[in-house]
C-alpha cells in the first residue's frame, strides 16, 4: 500500500461527495417533468414518443399498474433481444460473420441485459455482431437502467404522498430518464472515451503484422458508445470478453478513474434525490453516510489484500513489491484494480478491470460480500436505493421493538404488510444465492463447468449465483457456462430483479395511501448518526448471519490453505 494509492481512493470518494448534490438535483427535476437543458432540445421527441405510444404522461398509475407496466415492458425486451441474437446471422452490421447465438445463451443474455445484470456467458468479440451489440445490448443498457431509476422514484413518491392512490407514470419516467439523463450524459462520455483511445468503428477487425513478423488480428467495433452507458447505467456488460480490462475499453488510468466515478454517480445522486423528494436533504445524506462507511471498509480490505504477493511466489525469486499482479493490468496497478473491484460490486455494475477469480482469497471475498449485502452501497441505479430502503425499514422496525413503539419511517407507520413485503424481498436473494450454489456443487452439469477444484471451485459457484441474484454480472470467470448454468443463472437473475421490484412497489403503494404521523419526541430520528450505526449494523448482521457459513467453506478455507501452502 502506498500514499498515492490512498490518495486515489480519497480523491475518488471526494469526487462522489461533490457530485451527489448536482446529480440529485438534476434527477429530481427530470422526474418531476420540469424543464432542463436537454428537455429544451429533445422535448419534441418526448412528446412524439407519448403520442405514438398513446401515453398520457400526466395520468398516474397505482402501484400495481406501475408494476404491470414494468413487467409488460420487460417481456417485450426479452422477446425482442432473444430474437435479435438468434437471427443475427441474417441481419445487417455483421462484418465478422458471427453465427446465430445458441438458444440457451440467447435466453441467458436476454435476461441478463433486461435485468441490468449483464452477466456475460458469451465472449463479445467472438459471439456478437455489431447490430446485436448496439440494438440489443446497448439499447437494453439504457432502458434497463432507466427502468431501475424509475422504480426507485416511484418508491420515494410512495413515501412522500399522503392518502394518495398513485405513485407516478412508468412510461413517462422511463422516457424522461432515457432522453434527458442517460442519453445526453452518454454522448459526452462516449466522446471523451474515444478521445482517450476507445474505438468507435463499424469495421470488424484490423490486420497487422507485428515487429517480429507475426500476424495479429485486432478486433474493433462501436465500443465507446456502449462503454459510456455500461458504466453510467451500472450495467457492466462489456464489448469485449475481458470487459474494462481490455485496453480498448479502458485505455489508461484516467479513463479508469472516470469509469469508476460513472458507476457511483447516479447511485450517489439518487440518495440526494431521495432527500429532496422527502423534503429533508439530511435524510439523503444519512443514507449516503451509511453507504460510505461500508464502501470504505470494503475498498480498504481489498486494497490491503491485493497489495500482498502470493506467498507461493516468494521461493521462486519473484519480487513481492508489486503485490498480486496475476489477472491485473500494469497501467491500473493494485489500487486501480482493487478500487474498481470494490466499486463495481458495491454498485450492481459488474464491469471488471481485473480478473476477480485471481484475487487472493480475502481480496476475492470483498466483492462477494458486497454483492451478498444486496448491492446497497450506492448500488445499481435505482435498485441500490430501493434496496437500501428495505434495510432502513428493518432498522426502524428493530428500533421500534427496542422501545415498544410502532415503527415509523419518513412520517409513515411501518406495519405488518410492509414488513412482510420487505422480508420477501430481502430473503429471496439468499435463497437464490445459496440454494442454487448448493445444487450446482452436487450435480454433474454444475461441477463440470467449474475451472477450479477445492474451496476455490466452491467460491466460483457461489460467486456466480451471488452475482446473478444481485444483478451484478461480474464473475469468477474461469466458469465456462453450459446450458445448466445458463438456465439456472437466468432464473436467478429474474428472481433477483422482479422479486424485489414487485414487493418494493407494493410497499410504495401501501405507503402512499397512509396518513402522515406527526413527529414527536418519541419518534426515532432517521437522519442521525444513531440511525447510520443501526442500519449499517442491520445490513452487516443480516448479511453475516446468512452468508458466513458459505464464506467459511469458500474464501476463508482457501485463505488458510494458501497460508499453509496447500494447493488444489
Amino acid at each position: 500500500m502506498s500514499v498515492t494509492g490512498w490518495t486515489t481512493i480519497l480523491v475518488f470518494f471526494l469526487t462522489i461527495v461533490v457530485l451527489a448534490r448536482p446529480v440529485g438535483g438534476m434527477l429530481t427535476r427530470v422526474l418531476a417533468g420540469e424543464h432542463t437543458l436537454p428537455s429544451h432540445i429533445l422535448g419534441p421527441l418526448e412528446r412524439a414518443f407519448y403520442r405514438l405510444s398513446g401515453v398520457n404522461p400526466d395520468e398516474e398509475q397505482s402501484w400495481s399498474q406501475y408494476a404491470l407496466a414494468v413487467l409488460a415492458f420487460k417481456l417485450v425486451c426479452f422477446v425482442a433481444v432473444y430474437l435479435i441474437l438468434r437471427l443475427q446471422a441474417h441481419l445487417p452490421l455483421n462484418p465478422a460473420g458471427q453465427a446465430a447465438v445458441a438458444p440457451d445463451l440467447a435466453y441467458n443474455t436476454a435476461i441478463s441485459f433486461l435485468t441490468n445484470t449483464n452477466w456475460q456467458s458469451y465472449a463479445g468479440e467472438t459471439t456478437m455482431s455489431h447490430l446485436s451489440q448496439m440494438l440489443a445490448l446497448t439499447a437494453q443498457n439504457f432502458v434497463s437502467a432507466a427502468a431501475g431509476i424509475a422504480v426507485a422514484a416511484a418508491v420515494i413518491r410512495g413515501f412522500t404522498r399522503r392518502e394518495a392512490g398513485t405513485i407516478g407514470n412508468f412510461w413517462a419516467d422511463l422516457t424522461r430518464l432515457t432522453l434527458y439523463v442517460l442519453l445526453p450524459a452518454c454522448v459526452v462520455l462516449a466522446l471523451f472515451f474515444v478521445w482517450q483511445g476507445v474505438p468507435q468503428s463499424l469495421s470488424g477487425v484490423v490486420d497487422a503484422t507485428t515487429l517480429e513478423g507475426a500476424h495479429q488480428t485486432i478486433a474493433l467495433g462501436p465500443v465507446a458508445s456502449q462503454e459510456a452507458i455500461k458504466m453510467l447505467g451500472t450495467n457492466g456488460g462489456g464489448f469485449f470478453n475481458t470487459n474494462s480490462a481490455h485496453p480498448f475499453e479502458n485505455p489508461d488510468a484516467l479513463t479508469n478513474f472516470v469509469q469508476m466515478v460513472c458507476i457511483f454517480a447516479l447511485g450517489a445522486g439518487l440518495t440526494n434525490m431521495f432527500g429532496r423528494m422527502v423534503g429533508n436533504e439530511q435524510q439523503g445524506w444519512t443514507i449516503f453516510a451509511a453507504m460510505s462507511v461500508l464502501f470504505m471498509v470494503g475498498a480498504g480490505i481489498l486494497y490491503w489484500s491485493e497489495s500482498h504477493a502470493n506467498p507461493a511466489f516468494a521461493a521462486l525469486g519473484i519480487d513481492p513489491i508489486q503485490g498480486n499482479m496475476e489477472g491485473k493490468e500494469v497501467r491500473f496497478g493494485i489500487v486501480g484494480s482493487a478500487l474498481f473491484a470494490a466499486v463495481t460490486t458495491d454498485a450492481s455494475c459488474g464491469a471488471v478491470n481485473a480478473m476477480h477469480e485471481s484475487f487472493l482469497p480475502l481480496g476475492g471475498m470483498v466483492p462477494l460480500v458486497n454483492m451478498m449485502l444486496g448491492e446497497i452501497i450506492f448500488g445499481g441505479v435505482g435498485s441500490g436505493l430501493y434496496g437500501f430502503i428495505l434495510f432502513a425499514i428493518i432498522a426502524v422496525f428493530m428500533a421500534g421493538l427496542m422501545v415498544g413503539r410502532t415503527p415509523e419511517y419518513l412520517g409513515k407507520k411501518i406495519e405488518a404488510r410492509e414488513l412482510k413485503m420487505t422480508m420477501l424481498a430481502v430473503l429471496c436473494l439468499p435463497l437464490v444465492m445459496l440454494g442454487f450454489t448448493a445444487l450446482a456443487v452436487v450435480v454433474g452439469p454444475g461441477t463440470s463447468a467449474l475451472s477450479a477444484a477445492g474451496p476455490h471451485g466452491f467460491s466460483e459457484a457461489l460467486y456466480a449465483y451471488t452475482s446473478a441474484a444481485a444483478n451484478n454480472g461480474s464473475a469468477f470467470s474461469g466458469l465456462t457456462a453450459n446450458p445448466f448454468w445458463n438456465v439456472t443463472l437466468g432464473i436467478g437473475m429474474m428472481i433477483g430483479r422482479f422479486f424485489v421490484i414487485v414487493p418494493v412497489l407494493a410497499i410504495a403503494g401501501a405507503m402512499a395511501v397512509k396518513k402522515n404521523v406527526p413527529t414527536t419526541s418519541g419518534t426515532f430520528p432517521t437522519d442521525s448518526g444513531l440511525f447510520i450505526g443501526l442500519v449499517t449494523g442491520v445490513i452487516l448482521i443480516v448479511g453475516g448471519l446468512t452468508f458466513l457459513p458459505a464464506l467459511a467453506l469458500g474464501p476463508i478455507v482457501e485463505h488458510l490453505s494458501m497460508l499453509r501452502g496447500i494447493f488444489s
Binding site: 405510444s53 465472449a123 432502458v143 469485449f240
Partner: protein, 204 residues
C-alpha cells in the same frame, strides 16, 4: 395488462431505435470526424503497413526486443482447426488466466516462467535482481501493452548485448519511455512495450 401492450411495444421500438441505432451510429460519425485515429483503434503505421495498435500489446520473443508480460489468450490451431492452442496476444479473443491463488497450475506456470526469464536474462539474475512480478503473471486482458519500469530495466542488459549497443543508451531510452502517473498519483508508472521497441528499431 392489455392497456400496457401498446406503450410497451411502441416505446420499446422507439427507445431502442434511438439508443441502439441513432446514438451509436451518430456517435460513430462524430467520433470519426473529431478523433479518427483513436476511433479506428489507434493503429500504428510503419513503412505504410499497420504494425499493431498503440493500445494493444503484441508478442515479442527475440532477444533484440523487450518482452511483454505473459498472455493467457489462445487461438485456433493452424494444424487442426477444431482445437485451440496458446496464442499470446491474440487481439481477437481477449481472456485472462482466471487461475485462483491456490491453483497448482498457477504455481507451476509461474515457476516455469521464472526459470525461463532467469535463463534469458542471466546477467540480471547474477547482479542480484529479483524477477519483477509482472513478467511472470498474466494480465487480465491478455493484451496488456505495458510493463513496469522495473521489468524494462531488468531486460536492458539482454537487449543491449543482442543489439551491440552500449547499455547506458538502452537504459536511457527506457527512462525516456516511462509514463509517470498523472498529477503524480493517478495510475502506475509504466512502459509501453511496442513503443519502446519501435524506438529501439528507429534508433539503429
Amino acid at each position: 395488462m392489455i392497456r400496457h401492450i401498446r406503450p410497451a411495444l411502441v416505446l420499446f421500438a422507439l427507445l431502442s431505435t434511438l439508443t441502439g441505432l441513432a446514438y451509436p451510429l451518430g456517435l460513430t460519425a462524430v467520433a470519426n470526424l473529431l478523433f479518427s485515429h483513436q476511433a479506428q483503434g489507434s493503429i500504428i503505421i510503419r513503412d505504410g503497413h499497420p504494425v499493431g495498435s498503440a493500445l494493444i500489446g503484441q508478442n515479442f520473443t527475440s532477444d533484440r526486443y523487450f518482452h511483454p508480460r505473459p498472455s493467457a489468450t489462445s487461438g485456433v490451431d493452424p494444424a487442426d482447426p477444431s482445437k485451440s492452442v496458446p496464442t499470446p496476444y491474440n487481439a481477437a479473443a481477449s481472456v485472462g488466466s482466471n487461475l485462483g491463488p491456490t491453483s497448482r497450475s498457477l504455481v507451476a506456470r509461474v515457476s516455469a516462467g521464472a526459470a525461463a526469464i532467469g535463463a534469458d536474462n542471466p546477467d540480471a539474475i547474477r547482479e542480484g535482481w529479483k524477477i519483477p512480478a509482472d513478467l511472470v503473471t498474466t494480465s487480465a486482458s491478455g493484451l496488456d501493452p505495458d510493463i513496469s519500469p522495473e521489468a524494462a530495466f531488468f531486460q536492458v542488459r539482454r537487449v543491449a548485448l543482442a543489439r551491440h549497443l552500449p547499455e547506458m543508451r538502452v537504459r536511457g531510452l527506457v527512462v525516456q519511455m516511462i509514463r509517470q502517473p498523472m498529477m503524480g498519483w493517478l495510475g502506475e508508472p509504466h512502459v509501453n512495450v511496442l513503443a519502446l521497441n519501435l524506438a529501439l528499431d528507429a534508433g539503429q
